[in-house]
């Protein structure tokens, strides 16, 4: 699957240009964090890279319909139990019943939802839903995992635990492509950073370099918390 390359990708919706000339390469390696202000186009970019949207211009390779797995910014839970939600994609992936059960149980355990396995998923609290969505995508053991602000609703301890989970997944060789508004989290996880602003990739740099001193004035303002709408 890797590397995934976006070349001069444009995207528009509802008559509004959303992404313009996005070129970037995702190589095997530590997590790539996509950061930028609200409305910069991070979620749209993830959807494009995941394969849910098609570029209006430019291209993304490999051209497989869907690349890897994704956790959406707003989790979509099926009208089933927590366990049912976990097993659905595993069944779709063609895993046997036993393997499904094994993986689902392990995934629930990992995000601390084992006790809620039989609850209707859509009744979970915000943070519980987010953890379920992450567990569900991770259980697929994809080679690329797109995470759209996976910790936005998590409490401090859960955030740390999920960060550890993500780091663990990355260590097992899965490429993490993730957005976050928590710059501390970005620092802790990122191998490289893509800084997006107003639909353009302003810079793509190794994380250490980016946080030490970004190349662009916009990114610097963003890091100082001064890049306001």
């Amino acid at each position: 699957m890797l590397p995934i390359r976006a070349e001069a990708v444009d995207y528009a919706a509802g008559g509004v240009p959303i992404l313009r000339g996005v070129t970037l390469t995702l190589e095997a390696g530590p997590p790539c964090l996509i950061i930028g202000p609200n409305g910069a186009g991070k979620s749209v970019l993830l959807r494009l890279l995941h394969g849910l949207l098609r570029p209006a211009a430019g291209r993304i390779t490999p051209a497989a319909a869907i690349r890897g797995a994704m956790v959406f910014q707003r989790p979509v839970l099926l009208r089933r139990s927590v366990l049912g939600n976990l097993r659905y994609p595993l069944a779709l992936a063609g895993l046997g019943r036993e393997e499904q059960a094994r993986r689902a149980a392990a995934a629930l355990d990992r995000v601390g939802l084992a006790a809620l396995a039989h609850r209707p998923a859509r009744r979970l609290s915000g943070g519980e839903q987010q953890r379920l969505a992450l567990a569900r995508a991770a259980a697929l053991a994809p080679d690329v995992l797109f995470l759209d602000e996976p910790c936005a609703s998590l409490d401090p301890a859960a955030t740390r635990a999920v960060e550890a989970i993500i780091a663990g997944i990355a260590a097992e060789g899965c490429k993490i492509v993730m957005t976050t508004h928590d710059l501390g989290q970005a620092r802790r996880l990122a191998g490289e950073v893509v800084f997006l602003n107003r639909g353009r990739v302003v810079e793509q740099s190794p994380a250490a370099a980016f946080f030490a001193g970004p190349a662009s004035a916009e990114a610097a303002a963003f890091l100082r918390g001064e890049l306001l709408w």
Binding site: A65, I66, Y88, L92
Partner: protein, 213 residues
């Protein structure tokens, strides 16, 4: 009377079952898939909700009549013919209504299911299952239409006493005889049965709903 009632129920429910087997997946597929001609198909199905029963009846009549293509099976004026006519009549209704209902659900699910790699064919059963409570009303609409229908069953069934006479054709007969009280009484009995079926469906729904939604 009991025989007529039984036949009515049997024909309507069988037709509903067949129509559901065709119509619901078709509706779900139309909610899910994007292919050339989909738009025309949706409009066509919506329009078919306005197919006059007599016309549907006539088409089936011509099909099943001994000079028609399926004539050698001798199905005309049998309960089987009535089931076929009613199924043909309500399948488009089920498809059009379920498409409408499931499109809302698909709007919510589309990205997630596609992300799981579910193609249209795999998304169809998922939508049907997760939308089952909303589809109940659609099924009840189809059942109502079948139970109330007289034009098509009259043409292809022939309202033959003791063989293809249903509640609705009996009501039409009594009406033409001028026996309005009897016609109304039969209508009440039919409505009571329909009500019973609806109550049963509702009870089933509630029992299922308690299991978790």
């Amino acid at each position: 009377m009991l025989g007529i009632l039984g036949l009515s129920l049997r024909v309507s429910l069988t037709a509903l079952g067949i129509a559901a087997l065709v119509g619901l997946p078709l509706g779900a597929l139309l909610a899910v898939a994007r292919f050339p001609g989909r738009h025309a198909l949706v409009i066509g199905l919506n329009a078919l909700m306005g197919l006059p029963p007599v016309v549907a009846g006539l088409l089936i009549y011509l099909l099943l009549s001994r000079s028609g293509p399926l004539g050698r099976f001798g199905l005309l004026f049998t309960p089987t013919a009535m089931v076929i006519a009613q199924a043909a009549l309500i399948a488009p209704i089920l498809a059009a209504l379920s498409r409408g209902v499931l499109e809302a659900l698909w709007e919510e699910y589309a990205d997630q299911l596609r992300s799981f790699g579910a193609g249209p064919w795999r998304a169809v059963p998922t939508l049907l299952w997760d939308g089952r409570f909303a589809l109940l009303t659609v099924l009840l609409a189809g059942f109502g239409r079948a139970a109330a229908e007289v034009g098509a069953v009259m043409v292809v069934g022939g309202n033959i006493e003791g063989f293809t006479r249903t509640m609705t054709t009996a009501i039409a007969l009594e009406t033409s005889k001028g026996d309005l009280p009897l016609a109304l009484a039969l209508g009440l009995v039919l409505m009571a049965i329909v009500l019973g079926v609806n109550m049963l469906a509702q009870a089933l729904r509630e029992a299922a709903g308690r299991g978790g939604a």
